[in-house]
């Protein structure tokens, strides 16, 4: 009975270590700066060059969300000015 329990525990520990090793390998592989070849890797290369965090789940998790919102405000103001000028010219 004890031997069976010991075997089961060893088996479970072995599975845990294999799983942990697989997870660690995957992590180290990504961490090492791997990039998919060709155009498939262009987003990763771009994120790396511009230091873009692609992990936020929700809008409030994006650190520069305020500046993105201000950017859209500025775009809308510029578009409104363009429309006014066009209208005046017509």
């Amino acid at each position: 009975m004890i031997s069976k329990q010991h075997h089961s525990l060893t088996n479970r520990l072995f599975r845990f270590l294999v799983g942990l090793a697989a997870l660690t390998l995957f992590y180290v592989w990504i961490m090492s700066g791997v990039t998919p070849p060709g155009i498939c890797g262009s987003v990763i290369r771009h994120n790396r060059a511009a230091n873009i965090d692609a992990s936020p789940l929700f809008y409030s998790d994006v650190e520069h969300m305020n500046s993105l919102e201000r950017g859209v405000e500025a775009l809308r103001r510029a578009a409104a000015r363009r429309s006014d000028t066009d209208r005046q010219m017509n």
Partner: protein, 442 residues
């Protein structure tokens, strides 16, 4: 089915509201200090625990993190003591371990390269938990601290503070058209497709996948799962699928848009309406240029605001239609109230409080409210509660149950068909809104 006054201190839903509003009140009154976070690191893992001010290391976050562990343990243990579901001493031991695993998940996710790939703490938290539960098995003492529902519901009540209605007008009518017209249509289409055509037995999983695909991925999946009281395995499957497809869409959508020479603003609105998580939307939008990045992120933000309304509608639909026996009478108002997941009310109340009381009281200065009350406290704590929840979900899930949920690949078919429909409809509405009806909006 009756509810007594006792449920106010014995029901988990009410405790989520109490926890959430204690934190919100503490934040508004200035009683809660800035909540510590695990920082970003590149090559030295210890950098994640450094406090950097003006480029100089001024200390570390280990002590504040210990303070956070103690604070959260005490706060949540009060609820656990009243609910009497677990012995408090057992809960405290288990919670400490779950918190350490959550910190590891954050630390793993915050490596710079991992962030470039968009592999968030949600994925790492789930993987850490699944690794333990499916190999050595989650020990009972650890399970005692894995209060998944309590963490999710409290996190969602706190998330309510981030759902600010002032945000929905950021891009005018075109933004609303893409984010608010397409989204409900896709949710309804996917749910009907799953139930009527795919004949999926698991309606909760169908709803989780529909919400994750059409609103905002992981966050919508959590909110919907809690609103319809789905099983942990359903949420794990829904979240896993959305995480994989988000990375794929982040990789290929900007390339496709560039390849066919689509207008960048149209492309940005399209990606904002379809890619599940905001980080991936920002990265994909940025590939098309700064203006596209801004438009894509703001479209996504407007869509994110729908999450509260969605959770509310799903909760109502579930208690009035899905959970009702086919032969039974239509439930009356009191019956609906008894069955309704009350934490959704806390979620909605927090959103209304910040949108219509706190922001007007601060003279409409949304940025000030975000920088003083939301970002340093409620938002960071919401992240911690979600991270704890993902670790707990992993600890409580097993692969055999997950395989049983697959129903011959039906959830995958649902995701692919739903996302294809979402892509087509969003492109059409974005074209109509930004190119035909309001071409001069940006």
């Amino acid at each position: 089915m009756k509810e007594s006054i006792n449920s106010l201190w014995t029901n988990e839903d009410y405790w989520a509201i109490w926890f959430g509003f204690i934190i919100i009140a503490g934040s508004l009154l200035g009683w809660i200090p800035k909540i510590p976070k695990v920082g970003t690191w590149t090559s030295d893992p210890l950098n994640a625990f450094e406090v950097i001010k003006d480029g100089i290391v001024t200390g570390n976050t280990l002590l504040p993190l210990l303070g956070l562990l103690i604070g959260l343990a005490i706060l949540t243990a009060i609820g656990v003591a009243f609910m009497k579901t677990t012995k408090v001493s057992h809960y405290l031991l288990g919670f400490t371990a779950v918190f350490i695993l959550a910190t590891i998940s954050y630390w793993v996710a915050n490596q710079a390269e991992i962030k470039y790939w968009g592999l968030s703490y949600a994925m790492w938290g789930l993987l850490v938990g699944l690794l333990i539960s499916n190999t050595i098995g989650t020990p009972k003492w650890l399970l005692a601290g894995a209060k998944t529902e309590m963490f999710i519901k409290t996190g969602l009540v706190l998330m309510g503070a981030e759902i600010l209605f002032a945000k929905i007008v950021s891009l005018g009518i075109p933004g609303l058209m893409v984010a608010w017209i397409v989204t409900p249509i896709v949710v309804i289409f996917m749910f009907i497709f799953a139930v009527k055509y795919l004949k999926m037995k698991n309606k909760k999983l169908a709803m989780i996948i529909a919400a994750a695909t059409s609103v905002c991925g992981v966050s919508a999946a959590i909110a919907t799962a809690a609103a319809c009281r789905a099983k942990k395995e359903d949420l794990t499957l829904g979240v896993g699928m959305t995480l994989i497809f988000t990375v794929l869409m982040m990789f290929f959508m900007p390339l496709g848009i560039k390849f066919i020479g689509m207008n960048h603003i149209l492309g940005a609105a399209w990606m904002g309406g379809t890619i599940d998580s905001t980080g991936a939307v920002v990265a994909a939008g940025s590939m098309l240029g700064p203006e596209a990045e801004q438009v894509a992120a703001v479209v996504k933000m407007i869509q994110n605001v729908l999450i509260g309304l969605l959770a509310f509608c799903v909760a109502i639909y579930w208690v009035t239609t899905v959970d009702r026996s086919p032969e039974g009478p239509r439930p009356n108002a009191m019956e609906i109230w008894y069955r309704f997941p009350k934490f959704v009310l806390g979620f909605v109340a927090a959103s209304l409080l910040f949108s219509f009381v706190i922001i007007p009281a601060m003279h409409g200065d949304v940025a000030a409210v975000e920088s003083r009350f939301i970002n340093p406290i409620t938002h960071t704590l919401r992240g911690w509660f979600f991270c704890l929840a993902f670790v707990a979900i992993g600890l409580e899930s097993n692969f055999r149950e997950l395989t049983a949920q697959m129903e011959g690949g039906k959830p995958m078919i649902l995701y692919v068909v739903g996302q294809t429909f979402n892509l087509i409809l969003t492109l059409f509405v974005a074209w109509l809104a930004f190119m035909v009806l309001f071409p001069n909006v940006v």
